[in-house]
């Protein structure tokens, strides 16, 4: 069981970081007002500003990480991919309520639904993805802000979404 959770955590981590960086452009600008404040606090702590923007955006608006968790939760609750579609709709309205113009959350929810559908043929349950996504977000938001923001910043730079 543990190994399935770890594999699901790695899949979720790659999924939400890729969607957030490439489609959402979260490390470039603080999409909502509070994100800037959190990013500056992380920079003062010794972290990277662009990584901080991404972490602030994750806090302030339902982005791909929220989409990944809610898609797996609803897939588990409904027992089919239809749950993922419901989650995508709710995440879309959640984005609009939080005054976020992006589509990272909705895209992340749909990609996760597709991924869980594929992995369900290899013996993975959506519950593994719920626990895996929780593990993945704790590595970003809950372990060490200095190092996680630096990792996110350098990843965004390597993918070419930010300069410098």
């Amino acid at each position: 069981m543990i190994e399935k959770i770890v594999v699901a955590a790695v899949v979720c981590w790659i999924n939400f970081v890729m969607v957030d960086v490439l489609i959402g452009g979260l490390p470039e600008v603080p999409g909502v007002r509070g994100a800037k404040h959190i990013a500056h606090a992380i920079r003062n702590y010794g972290g990277n500003l662009n990584g901080g923007y991404m972490m602030g955006n994750i806090v302030c608006s339902p982005d791909a990480s929220a989409g990944t968790l809610l898609a797996s939760s609803c897939y588990y609750a409904f027992g089919s991919w239809e749950g993922g579609l419901l989650a995508a709709t709710v995440v879309y309205f959640g984005n609009r309520i939080c005054a976020d113009p992006g589509y990272a959350g909705t895209t992340g929810t749909l990609t996760t639904t597709a991924l869980i559908f594929i992995f369900s043929h290899f013996g993975f349950s959506p519950a593994n993805f719920v626990a895996g996504m929780v593990l993945a977000i704790v590595t970003i938001q809950g372990l060490h802000h200095k190092y996680s923001s630096k990792i996110l910043g350098s990843l965004a730079r390597k993918m070419g979404t930010i300069e410098g």
């Binding site: 509070g34 404040h37 500056h40 806090v59 939760s73 609750a77 929780v134 704790v138």
Partner: protein, 78 residues
């Protein structure tokens, strides 16, 4: 599985209390909300359980958004 997620929720809650820097508490609280959503979703396998998890998470994000933007506004006033 639910015990692992619950243990992570307790860990992030303790980290949020121990952190002195106020804006940096919010990422810990956000991770805690992820954990609690996971606990809600895993505790009951029923469509209504999924709806509760969805509602909890979206509204908790709205709350974090409000707290962070209020902090930003207070900084501007100062």
């Amino acid at each position: 599985m639910i015990k692992i997620v619950g243990a992570l929720a307790v860990y992030t809650a303790i980290m949020a209390i121990l952190t002195k820097d106020k804006p940096r508490r919010l990422p810990y609280l956000n991770a805690m909300n992820f954990c609690i959503t996971g606990v809600i979703a895993l505790s009951i396998q029923h469509p209504l359980g999924g709806l509760v998890a969805l509602t909890y998470f979206i509204l908790s994000t709205l709350e974090s958004n409000a707290v962070a933007s209020t902090m930003d506004r207070l900084m501007e006033v100062k």
